[in-house]
């Protein structure tokens, strides 16, 4: 039994962090706010070259063949740096292509030359092996050749051309792009059934990992501010009202990180309670990231209420991730439907 990152994993996190800090600094989100795409295409390809999209992909498809806990740590790191771009959809998209035996597509996605956006069914509709139907939120679809459409039964890749009428919507998260599209019978180009690979659970764990990363970054942000900001002649962190808020954030971040790693191992190893652990991870991490986002704005006072400060970017990303791979209420209902954990 081991739930601590290995030296190898720590190196991986450090390499990803270095890249994100130098090539995709958070300030870039504000600079690109009016751009159709949230991410600079060159930076996207550089990240892909570094292996950010193919960490968990089998080596025969050009990936690093690493396990889900590595990917989870990477997604936590991406979120800690608010990395823009469709990492989640493209990582899973490469996996769908690979499992369907489409080596060229898997390679193109992995290299960063083909982008995959995310399509989330909102309301009634249908996601099946041949076609999909319904109204979808499209997340980071700009420049994407495919959209990933996931359900508990299986996951589809659908060509972007299958969504004829895309209406751009203002995105609450300045680091992402949002659109809506309704389709009657869009053709599925690749379908990966859940029995072959539980992609829904992988997506759930990676979303949870992102949320856990946000919760952690927010804890650090608040704690550092509490040490530096002086009022009444002392750093505000001496006061229990602030100190305890920071402590609660740290605890929530630790709980969400521990659980998402636990879930990653369970999903990876196909443990019987994998779904239970993944849903628990998403539920815990959602609460932690949104709670810590709200608390961070409060700890920062007036500064926290400004667009210039990063706190709201984290909170907004948290709300975005919360609505991927199941609505929060749905995740709780699924969790309660599971048998007792192993």
């Amino acid at each position: 039994m081991d739930l601590l990152p290995s030296q190898d994993q720590l190196d991986l996190i450090a390499a990803a962090s270095d890249f994100l800090e130098s090539r995709l600094p958070i300030e870039g989100i504000r600079q690109r706010a009016d751009d159709p795409s949230a991410v600079d295409p060159d930076a996207w390809r550089e990240g892909a070259e570094l292996g950010l999209l193919t960490l968990g992909l089998d080596e025969e498809y050009g990936g690093s063949g690493r396990l889900l806990d590595d990917e989870a740590l990477l997604f936590a790191t991406l979120a800690e740096h608010l990395a823009p771009g469709p990492y989640l959809a493209s990582t899973l998209g490469a996996r769908v292509a690979a499992q369907c035996g489409d080596l060229p597509l898997a390679t193109a996605i992995g290299e960063g030359s083909t982008l995959v956006g995310l399509a989330e069914l909102r309301g009634d509709g249908c996601i099946g092996p041949d076609s999909i139907k319904g109204t979808f939120d499209l997340i980071d679809h700009a420049g994407a050749a495919y959209l990933l459409v996931a359900s508990r039964q299986g996951t589809a890749l659908v060509r972007a051309t299958q969504f004829p009428d895309i209406g751009d919507l203002p995105s609450a998260d300045p680091g992402s792009r949002l659109a809506t599209a309704t389709v009657d019978a869009a053709t599925v180009s690749h379908w990966l059934p859940a029995e072959t690979d539980p992609l829904w659970l992988r997506g759930t764990v990676l979303a949870a990992a992102g949320l856990a990363g946000l919760a952690n970054a927010l804890t650090t942000m608040s704690t550092e501010h509490a040490k530096l900001r002086v009022q009444f002649g002392r750093p505000i962190g001496v006061h229990q009202a602030i100190k305890h808020a920071c402590a609660d954030m740290a605890v929530a971040a630790d709980a969400s990180r521990s659980q998402m790693l636990f879930a990653a191992v369970c999903v990876q190893s196909g443990r019987e309670d994998a779904a239970f652990q993944a849903y628990a991870a998403k539920a815990v991490a959602t609460k932690a990231a949104i709670g810590n986002g709200a608390a961070t704005i409060q700890v920062h006072g007036g500064m926290g209420y400004t667009y210039e400060h990063n706190a709201h970017l984290y909170l907004k990303r948290a709300h975005l991730l919360a609505h991927l791979f199941g609505e929060p209420a749905e995740v709780l209902a699924e969790l309660l439907d599971q048998g007792a954990p192993q």
Binding site: M1, L3, D69, T223, G237, K243, C246, A255, L332, L336
Partner: protein, 390 residues
């Protein structure tokens, strides 16, 4: 990363599972003081006879010397079978015993440690005083050296099981001239000594174990001092670090079983609309799922903590996080239990009986107060983990 147990660990788990199933106490725990003593010591004796006493204790002191992973396996199996919590024997096994191991003399260890393990002695903790709660170091119970004895005068409070205890780990002030952390002495107090007056304090749960203890010229031989005169604070702190290290693992693990029991109860018990089971109520269902998720994460944190402790070999302030999460969660589950119980909340029950959710609710308030309040845990996390200024 992995969650796999080795072949030996799986074998160990099967052995624990079988032994617990065959030997666990079957009767409900009594709720009177004498009955509790009898019951808890009896179960401790059973564990001793079976070779399972003091699993966390090193073998040189007669314990099981189990690894942290084995302890985790033991606690998980223990909880899964719905066994009683370690209650009247808690202080002996998790405070006094470990303190004696690290700081007591050869003679003191030889006398006391076997008695704790064999289920022959109940220990209680004489730390808190009316004016020294969270600020423990401001304690004032006075001890004056007279010949080869300490003469004690003063009062302790919130002393669980003082009414049935044989011994007490007693913190007294032997010197009031220095800083408050100096001049404290840690002594073994025989609870049958003349001048000791134990008065039960009834708790909101209706429990019979809470007490205050008065000392009127109680004479404790100097040979009962653990460590040296005036060095009691450091002796006491060695106890607390053990407590925050692994002692609460059992409680954390047990919460998982309590939540599953509550979910089962909510399937059977009529809900707020008076027609459908409680679990059909959306709000109750969501809250059940939330505590289920939170308990899962507490378990994951416990696992991470154990991996961490195996790597670093010191119980750091991380234990405070586990204690805090446990306490908050325990109260959240208990409050949810009350809402599921509905109007039956008017009826007093005991947490020791099946579905004793009303008793559990009132008991749960103690969990964020005893063993260091949640506020103190937040201070520790803020200052020692996050480095916030004091």
């Amino acid at each position: 990363m992995d969650l796999d147990f080795t072949d030996e660990q799986v074998e160990f788990r099967d052995e624990v599972r079988t032994w617990l199933a065959e030997n666990k106490p079957r009767e409900q725990r009594p709720d009177d003081a004498a009955g509790i003593r009898e019951y808890d010591l009896g179960w401790q004796r059973t564990q001793w006879d079976g070779g399972w006493a003091g699993i966390a204790w090193p073998t040189e002191y007669g314990g099981g010397g189990l690894s942290l992973t084995q302890q985790l396996i033991w606690y998980e199996e223990y909880a899964a079978q719905g066994l009683p919590g370690i209650d009247a024997t808690f202080v002996g096994l998790n405070h006094a015993g470990p303190t004696l191991m690290t700081r007591a003399s050869e003679e003191q260890r030889a006398f006391h440690l076997p008695r704790i393990l064999r289920g022959e002695a109940v220990w209680c903790q004489g730390f808190s005083e009316p004016d020294a709660g969270s600020d423990l170091a401001s304690l004032r119970t006075r001890a004056v050296i007279d010949g080869d004895e300490l003469v004690i005068n003063g009062q302790k409070i919130w002393t669980s099981f003082a009414n049935i205890a044989d011994y007490q780990e007693l913190l007294v002030r032997t010197d009031a001239t220095g800083s408050k952390h100096e001049g404290i002495t840690w002594a073994i107090c025989d609870m049958r000594l003349p001048g000791i007056d134990v008065r039960p304090i009834t708790t909101i749960e209706g429990g019979a174990e809470f007490c205050e203890v008065f000392y009127d010229d109680v004479r404790i031989p100097l040979s009962s001092v653990v460590g040296t005169i005036g060095d009691g604070w450091s002796v006491a702190m060695s106890t607390l670090s053990f407590e925050r290290g692994t002692a609460f693992t059992a409680n954390q693990v047990r919460l998982a079983k309590i939540v599953e029991d509550l979910i089962d109860f909510a399937r059977d018990h009529l809900g707020p609309d008076g027609r459908r089971p409680a679990i059909a109520d959306d709000q109750i269902a969501r809250r059940l799922a939330e505590v289920r998720a939170a308990v899962a994460s507490l378990r994951a944190m416990t696992y991470v903590g154990i991996c961490d402790a195996m790597r670093t070999d010191t119980p750091g302030p991380r234990g405070s996080m586990l204690k805090l999460v446990y306490a908050d969660l325990c109260k959240e589950i208990a409050a949810l239990g009350m809402d599921i119980v509905g109007a039956d909340a008017l009826r007093r029950t005991s947490r020791w009986e099946p579905n004793g959710w009303v008793g559990y609710y009132y008991y749960a308030f103690s969990q964020s107060i005893g063993g260091g309040t949640s506020e103190i845990q937040r201070n520790i996390i803020g200052e020692r983990m996050l480095g916030l200024p004091r």
